[in-house]
Amino acid sequence: MKIHALFFGMSKDLAGQSKASVELEEGKTVKEFRELLQQKYPSFSTMDTYAVAVNETYADEEFVLSDKDTVAIIPPVSGG
C-alpha cells in the first residue's frame, strides 16, 4: 500500500524534502513505518524523538496504517 509521508520542522531538513510517497506492506503499524523511515533516512536517528500523526490526528505506535493514509512526522513542537 501507499503512504503519503509529510515532514515538518527538523525532519524536513533531515529528509531534504517536505513529502514522500512510501510503499508499505498491508497491516503494518506506525512503529513499523518508523523503522522503514529510519532505513530510508538514516539521519533521522539524530532526532531525539518525534511524534506521528495519521490523517491529522496523533497516533500511537500500535496504530495500524491503511492504504493512502497521510502520515506526518512531528518533531517536538515549539509554537507559542
Binding site: 509529510l6 515538518f8 520542522g9 527538523m10 531538513d13 539524530t46 532526532m47 531525539d48 500523526a53 491529522e56 490526528t57 496523533y58 506526518a72 512531528i74 518533531p75 517536538p76 513542537v77 515549539s78 509554537g79 507559542g80
Partner: protein
C-alpha cells in the same frame, strides 16, 4: 459551540484588539489574556529573527480541540486562540489567547491551560536565527 471559539493561524500580524473584542461579553465579569512575544535571547545568544512553520490543517484542528476542551473543563464563555506563522522579529507576537468568563478564576485557568497545551500539542515549529547559525527550538539533535 462554534460561535464561542475563534481560531486563527495566519501570516498576518496578530491583533490584541481583535482577540479582546471577540471574547468580550456583557454577561462576563472577567477576561484573561496571554500574549506571547519573541524574546531577544535564548541561553544568552542573541536571536536575530524567527520563523514559525506549521502543519496547517492539523494545527488548526488541535487549536480547536484545545478551545473546546477549555470551554468544557472551565465553564468559560468564549475563547480566541490566534497564532502567527512565517517570519517574526524580536518583540513581535506569535500567539494571543483571550478568554472570557463569568468568574475570573476560570478565565485565568482556561487561558493558562490553553497556552500550556498549545505548546505541547499544536504542530508549529520555531526556528531561531543567530549571528552564527540557526536552530530548531525544542529539537535536540
Amino acid at each position: 459551540m462554534e460561535n464561542r471559539i475563534f481560531i486563527k493561524l495566519t501570516e498576518d500580524r496578530l491583533s490584541l484588539g481583535e482577540c479582546y473584542q471577540f471574547v468580550q461579553d456583557n454577561s462576563c465579569g472577567g477576561l484573561a489574556l496571554f500574549v506571547g512575544t519573541v524574546r531577544n535571547n535564548t541561553e544568552n545568544k542573541e536571536v536575530k529573527a524567527l520563523e514559525f512553520s506549521s502543519y496547517e490543517p492539523m494545527a488548526v484542528k488541535e487549536m480547536n480541540l484545545i478551545a473546546e476542551k477549555a470551554l468544557e473543563l472551565f465553564g468559560i464563555e468564549k475563547i480566541a486562540i490566534h497564532h502567527a506563522i512565517g517570519n517574526l522579529e524580536v518583540s513581535e507576537v506569535p500567539v494571543i489567547i483571550s478568554v472570557s468568563s463569568a468568574h475570573r478564576d476560570a478565565a485565568f485557568k482556561a487561558c493558562q491551560y490553553a497556552i500550556d497545551t498549545l505548546k505541547e500539542t499544536v504542530p508549529i515549529w520555531k526556528k531561531e536565527f543567530f549571528e552564527d547559525g540557526e536552530v530548531w527550538v525544542n529539537a535536540h539533535p
